[in-house]
């Protein structure tokens, strides 16, 4: 079905109005050499709705998901609870079949929702201004580095080795077209080596990037390093887990200049890695250097409150090559999901989610490390994720867990190159509010039974 409705008779009427005899004549401007004749591409015949459903259900059925097996994977994407009401609201076609709200008077619904989203992000991060979303946490981090360099015109970005390795890779890709250099800050006990950081700061340092908590789930000493960065005139970029912000002081209170992160945990689901969303917040003074859309409040001629896209002169459709970023389409619907998620959970719900993650992850860590051969790789305080040093290769452990219908944690040994460290037999294990004690206990039981592999 092609969803078009012009009948053959209507097509004829329209062609007559245009002054042509056939549909083919509409395509005369395409040189014959590159005009396809009748052979359709792709060759596949159209499928009926029943056939399409069968085909896609078959593909979905070939996957095993977090609904089939309890899942202890994290590493940037987490199996958090998504309330049913959220799906119904973002499923309203008035939201999801609209375009970017260029025509404000016909788009007040999404514009007000984005204004609320921006507010939510500033409340969570403790910053003054947030943009209307970016693609994901990784590209948001890369955009933050570019933004910092626009602000202070310096050329070096110092990056903690404990940010997500994929974020580091995206940062390198984004900066490969610029004259900015990336320097990695090594770790001490799984977090930023602050003495090294302090000695690495110089007049070329545009920004310092850390992740809070970091890739290993560990809380960084974010506040302790802030004064060094400020005194050096560099900017402080912090990539955060928004769920953790229910529990830890917002980076805006301890010296961050740009706060970014992955918003998938806020109501977007796992989705095999996308779409989630990237969020970004900063001081109001930096807002003209920010990438992406911004929604501002204003009035109509009768003094009624309304919302519009604002400071568009930063953007590609006005400023072209001089724009703050090339971004156009962003992740508005996921930003709407984040807004509704935060509205539904509210102050008490979000605190509960964070508390459940914290308690359950620590319960799992305590119990697993009682099993001979299992240790915590690092001694530092952590949130909902931790690195386990195991007595066997993680690949083998995970295979046995799967035989017992459990999806185990992330194998860090295969990522040791990008992590730039020794991670033999190391597993990054995540526990969210969705994992019950029963599921955690089953994981522990199976690990116990694997003493001899």
């Amino acid at each position: 079905m092609d969803y078009s409705g012009n009948t053959p008779l209507q097509q004829k009427e329209m062609l007559e109005a245009i002054g042509l005899r056939s549909i083919e004549e509409l395509f005369q401007s395409i040189p014959e050499k590159v005009r396809l004749q009748s052979s359709a591409t792709p060759r596949a015949r159209p499928l009926s709705e029943i056939e399409v459903v069968n085909e896609l259900r078959d593909l979905a059925g070939q996957n095993k998901s977090a609904l089939d097996y309890p899942l202890f994977l994290g590493g940037g994407y987490y199996d958090h609870f998504v309330p049913a009401a959220l799906k119904f609201l973002i499923g309203r076609p008035e939201f999801y079949t609209a375009y970017t709200p260029y025509q404000a008077e016909a788009s007040q619904g999404i514009l007000q929702a984005i204004y609320e989203y921006q507010t939510f992000i500033t409340l969570l991060t403790g910053m003054e201004a947030a943009n209307a979303s970016l693609y994901d946490g990784a590209s948001a981090l890369a955009e933050a580095a570019l933004m910092a360099a626009r602000i202070n015109k310096r050329k070096t970005i110092l990056v903690s080795q404990a940010i997500h390795p994929e974020y580091l890779s995206v940062l390198e890709t984004y900066l490969s077209g610029s004259d900015l250099a990336i320097k990695r800050i090594p770790l001490k006990e799984g977090r930023v080596d602050s003495a090294f950081l302090k000695s690495s700061l110089d007049k070329d340092t545009s920004a310092v990037i850390i992740s809070q908590p970091n890739f290993f789930g560990i809380f960084e000493e974010g506040e302790r390093i802030a004064p060094f960065i400020r005194q050096n005139g560099s900017l402080y970029i912090v990539s955060v887990d928004p769920i953790a912000l229910a529990m830890i002081r917002p980076p805006g209170e301890w010296g961050a200049d740009i706060v970014v992160g992955e918003g998938q945990a806020l109501g977007s689901g796992l989705n095999f890695g996308g779409p989630g969303l990237g969020f970004m917040a900063s001081h109001l003074a930096f807002v003209r250097k920010m990438p992406g859309r911004l929604v501002g409040q204003t009035e109509d001629s009768l003094g009624r409150t309304g919302y519009v896209l604002t400071l568009q002169t930063r953007e590609q459709h006005i400023r072209r090559a001089q724009a703050t970023s090339n971004i156009c389409t962003n992740h508005a619907l996921n930003a709407l999901a984040a807004t509704i998620y935060l509205a539904l959970l509210g102050k008490n719900g979000l605190k509960m989610v964070a508390g459940l993650c914290l308690q359950k992850a620590h319960y799992a860590a305590r119990k697993i490390t009682e099993i001979p051969g299992y240790k915590l790789k690092f001694k530092q305080p952590f949130f909902k994720e931790f690195v386990l040093s195991c007595p066997h290769p993680v690949e083998k452990i995970n295979r046995r867990l799967l035989e017992n219908k459990i999806i185990g944690g992330l194998d860090l040994a295969v990522r040791k190159k990008s992590l730039n460290g020794e991670f033999e037999n190391c597993m990054l294990l995540a526990v969210t509010e969705k994992r019950s004690k029963e599921e955690i206990d089953k994981l522990i039981e199976v690990l116990k039974s694997l003493q001899k592999l």
């Binding site: 395509f27 159209p46 007040q108 204004y115 519009v308 590609q316």
Partner: protein, 480 residues
């Protein structure tokens, strides 16, 4: 306007039902470092019914494809089939973790592999990456591939040629990729000025970025000559496939000589725009560029699909994980539903609809390029401007009639531009209503221009003060 969510609710309410703690409680002060614990979380407190009513009310203040004709030029606001939404919501897709093993995600990998193959066939390229999240992201990916390709060959090419009529993302992506931009002029027929292209093209040029059909809705008639000029100078030809809707089953970028092309699944392949995203901006490349694609690439060994990370020439990653997978599902289902034949009909009806609007409205609005167009037609509001009515006024007046305005003031090479793209999913009856309304507005411009200058009259708010928004920045609500 509706109150903000922050002005609603009451202390102690919540809209989510969470499980009780079932493991022994440990004192938080022992788990979170001293000084790091948050004291105040200033979020609203509402019940689920309050939240549902609030956002349902907001949704009603929006125009959308499901409620209004939405002829936004260059955006391809076609109908978004409901079955695709349902399929993308299958739990076997939505609950997949990106790091789970290949054995547990064969269905997802198969889908990505098949979608890449279908897209390659549709536009005549040798392979795709589905990683870019949007059109501009696909452009950046393409530009970085161009950069890596020439670096590999040891050639120092610093410039990218872009027509003055291009989408704003083209020059900004090229600059983000580290290139200098050279503009090439448009000729009197809306195409690239071949003579000028020959002059600016040289051994410093990495590529020409070209939108085809261009932003005037016209096919680049000299495409083969353009391709040969670019390739003879050792450059690459980059395609902006935003307007692919006009070419489905009619002509292929690969056959025209393009070396890279990005598409927009959220335009041509009927995935919804979501009020500004998410989309997917897949990038197709010819054989010699396959090795530079972002990591990882989906490949097949025997009957098993897997992610290949072993591409030493890859530009790296342009985002985390593999792309906007749920959007890919919708596009794949759309391609299956239409088949090759259906896709060709899409182009035919899209182009027929655009030309019908062109002929019916050209006596009422200036038409700078009066020739058979493809998927969209660009009028100028110059005639109305002479009466003191601007294109913006025409756009705002359309809202009063339940019609979403076209794209305005773009492309830049048409003064007071009105860029109209009806798409194939609109019927003649809808087009006739739009035509009637546009004629009425043209008449109002003659006899009662004030009604246009003060439009909209029936929207939730009147014309909003954008200057005030920028001058007195208010980007977030604050407790009074």
């Amino acid at each position: 306007m509706s109150k903000l969510i922050f002005e609603k609710g009451a202390r102690g309410r919540t809209g989510a039902s969470l499980p009780e703690l079932d493991v022994p409680l440990k004192d938080i002060s022992g788990l979170i470092p001293p000084g790091l614990a948050r004291k105040n979380l200033p979020l609203p407190e509402l019940t689920e019914p309050e939240v549902v009513r609030h956002y349902t009310e907001l949704s009603k203040l929006n125009f959308s494809v499901d409620t209004n004709f939405y002829p936004l030029g260059s955006c391809t606001m076609k109908y978004n089939p409901k079955i695709n939404e349902e399929l993308a919501n299958l739990p076997g897709f939505t609950h997949l973790h990106p790091y789970q093993s290949g054995d547990l995600s064969q269905g997802a990998l198969t889908l990505m592999y098949n979608l890449e193959k279908s897209l390659s066939e549709i536009v005549g390229m040798d392979g795709f990456t589905l990683q870019p999240a949007a059109g501009a992201h696909g452009e950046l990916t393409g530009i970085l591939i161009v950069r890596a390709f020439f670096k590999d060959k040891g050639e120092k090419r610093k410039k990218i040629i872009i027509p003055d009529s291009a989408h704003g993302t083209n020059p900004s992506s090229a600059r983000l990729g580290g290139f200098e931009i050279v503009e090439v002029e448009t000729d009197g027929f809306g195409g690239i000025d071949i003579g000028h292209l020959g002059k600016v093209m040289n051994e410093e040029t990495a590529c020409l970025m070209l939108t085809n059909p261009n932003t005037l809705g016209l096919f680049e008639k000299n495409i083969l000559e353009i391709s040969s000029i670019v390739h003879q100078a050792g450059g690459l030809l980059y395609g902006d496939g935003a307007n692919l809707n006009a070419l489905l089953g009619k002509s292929r970028f690969g056959d025209m000589g393009f070396d890279l092309v990005h598409l927009n699944l959220h335009k041509t392949f009927a995935t919804p725009h979501g009020g500004g995203g998410p989309g997917v901006g897949p990038l197709g490349v010819k054989k010699e560029l396959l090795a530079y694609r972002p990591l990882p690439v989906v490949e097949k060994k025997g009957s098993r699909f897997y992610f290949n990370y072993d591409l030493p020439k890859s530009i790296g990653k342009v985002r985390s994980f593999y792309g906007n997978f749920l959007v890919m599902i919708k596009a794949y289902a759309y391609i299956l539903s239409l088949g090759g034949e259906g896709l060709r009909k899409v182009a035919e009806n899209a182009v027929l609809n655009a030309n019908y609007l062109r002929t019916e409205l050209k006596d009422y609005y200036d038409l700078p390029y009066d020739e058979v167009c493809l998927h969209e037609v660009v009028f100028s509001g110059n005639r109305q401007k002479a009466r003191g009515v601007r294109t913006l006024d025409i756009a705002k007046r359309l809202i009063d009639f339940g019609l979403h305005p076209p794209t305005v003031y773009f492309p830049l090479n048409v003064p007071e531009a009105l860029m109209i793209e009806p798409t194939e999913t609109e019927t003649k009856e809808t087009l006739d209503y739009f035509i009637e309304t546009m004629k009425k507005i043209a008449h109002e411009a003659e006899v009662n221009p004030d009604v246009l200058r003060q439009a909209p009259h029936n929207a939730p708010v009147g014309r909003l003060d954008e200057a005030k928004a920028a001058r007195e920045l208010d980007l977030a609500w604050r407790a009074k």
